[in-house]
């Protein structure tokens, strides 16, 4: 049992964004959370990663309850996320940005005297080559293309060597070519690095292309959970999507 949410609920005042969602994510899976707009996907994401505090319910990771842990602690346990609105470092170079992930994970951030650039050169280079940003290592974060920024964020998260990688709409705003590249990257990392990946998406081709398990949310409630075939066949899901690209 890798990650589990037990009847997790989040209320914003009177609005119940996530309603008693109990879900299990299996280690090594690529697990998608989908649903129409307002379904609570991002909020669920935020509950798992610690961006929001749950109103009730539990989040359990590797057997340990993390419901009340702040975001940074969850990251130290092995959960890292990317953001829907790409979150990178505008005025740091691509190299420095990826380095930051490693510095944090390898716990050298309280080193006050050595030169930061001397650390983890090999690991940073390897990550940059894996995501295909090696030739832009010295470019500033805000000078690269949108698709590259998304890849950069992915690279940064890889620096923390996570066990569970949560990607919030990883192909948002990407062209079809960039989407294909991103998809194959995600698949590659899942296989090569043994990452468990949890992601939300609107692009159904991505979802059915790489997900091993899919969970469907509708107005905060879990309405389907299973393999892509099971979800595709589910009447509930078809009703909710009203003949959408499922």
């Amino acid at each position: 049992m890798f990650l589990q949410t037990q009847q997790i609920t989040k209320e914003f005042g009177k609005l119940r964004a996530v309603n008693n969602v109990s879900l299990e994510i299996v280690k090594g899976d690529i697990h998608a959370i989908i649903g129409p707009n307002g379904a609570g996907k991002s909020t669920y994401f935020n509950l798992v990663t610690g961006y929001h505090r749950a109103t009730s319910g539990k989040v359990i990771f590797k057997g340990k309850e993390i419901t009340h842990l702040p975001a940074y602690s969850r990251c130290n346990l092995g959960i890292t996320r990317s953001f829907q609105i790409t979150s990178i470092y505008p005025k740091l170079t691509v190299y420095e940005s990826v380095l930051q992930g490693l510095l944090c994970h390898r716990k050298v951030t309280l080193n006050f005297f050595s030169s930061a650039k001397k650390f983890f050169k090999e690991e940073v280079c390897r990550i940059l080559e894996d995501v295909g940003l090696a030739d832009q290592a010295n470019t500033l974060g805000d000078s690269i293309s949108h698709g590259d920024k998304k890849r950069l964020e992915l690279a940064i998260t890889l620096g923390t060597e996570p066990e569970l990688l949560c990607l919030d709409e990883p192909t948002c705003g990407m062209s079809p070519e960039e989407t294909d590249v991103a998809m194959s990257l995600i698949k590659k990392f899942s296989e090569e690095r043994g990452l468990t990946i949890l992601f939300t998406e609107h692009d159904m081709s991505v979802v059915f292309g790489i997900a091993k398990r899919i969970s469907v949310l509708h107005q905060g409630t879990l309405i389907a959970d299973g393999t892509p075939q099971e979800v595709r066949a589910s009447e509930e899901v078809q009703k909710v999507y009203l003949g959408g690209s499922a």
Binding site: L92, Y95, H105, N111, F112, F113, S114, N138, T160
Partner: protein
Amino acid sequence: MLTNQTEKKDSIVKRGWWLGLLFILFLIAPSILSEFYLSILCEALVMSLLALSFNLLFGYMGQLSFGQAAFYGLSGYTVAMLVTKVHFNFWLSLVAGVLMAGVIGLVVGYFCVRLRGIYFAVLTLAFGQLLFVIIYKWHNFTGGDDGIQGVFPPDFLKSPTAYYYFILLVFTASAYVLWRIIQSPFGQTLKSMRENSERTEFLGINIARYQLIAFVIAAGFAGLAGAIWVPFYRSVAPFYLMWIKSGEPVMAAILGGPPIFLGPVLGMFIMTFFHAWVLGFTIYWPVVMGALILVIIFFLPGGILGFAHEKLKERKEKLNLTKGQP
């Protein structure tokens, strides 16, 4: 793929050359300058240390602190009181001053880092003001409005030239330490917090904790500045902790350029001499300072060095473009 190693070495050599020349100039300063200008130079160096401490928080961490003068002044008072009232050892008094600044920095910082941005800034001002009021009103203990006089350094440092070299030594050593801190993984983390603290938080960093550590370091160096200044000037007064004083490192940093390490130093040198000149014919320094801050904000956003850096970059890019022409 990594930074062009030879390029890097070139820039270090270039920078090293400049710095070396500057340092030699500073070494021979007492023989060319009159005592008056030498004391202004002393003030410039001490205040530059204060400005560097401020810029750790502003340029590198991205937070505005309007209370650095409080740590500067508190340390000065600690030294003054230990030296004059208890006849404590001079050197240990300096250490005590720095420690006092650091401890108060820890207490104040603990509350300030619960907030960010604007709130953090105003809270630092508020605490600075609180400390000022405490010093000002505690007449029996601190002398209140009168301040404390008669703070003398040991005999061998009594001459302006000797003390100047002492200040230069402390400044150079402190600048070096701050430089190392900024280049370190800790410093890199601060920069990442400035660029996007949320991203860094979600990489596993307890932002408040790191901000607090930086705050204490900054307070400590501000305290060091105050500790070495008071014996030079032979006295300390409440206005050292005032909010107006806190504005001086802020202005120096934005004038010189917060993104460049020595930017605040340049800004502070200009400001100190300018301040001395202005005080020659008017007491209305705050309005000049305010007007200058507005000018910098509107016309010189990156400060002098930031502006120069941008211009150099533009020239380099133009050269690269023309090089790339078939």
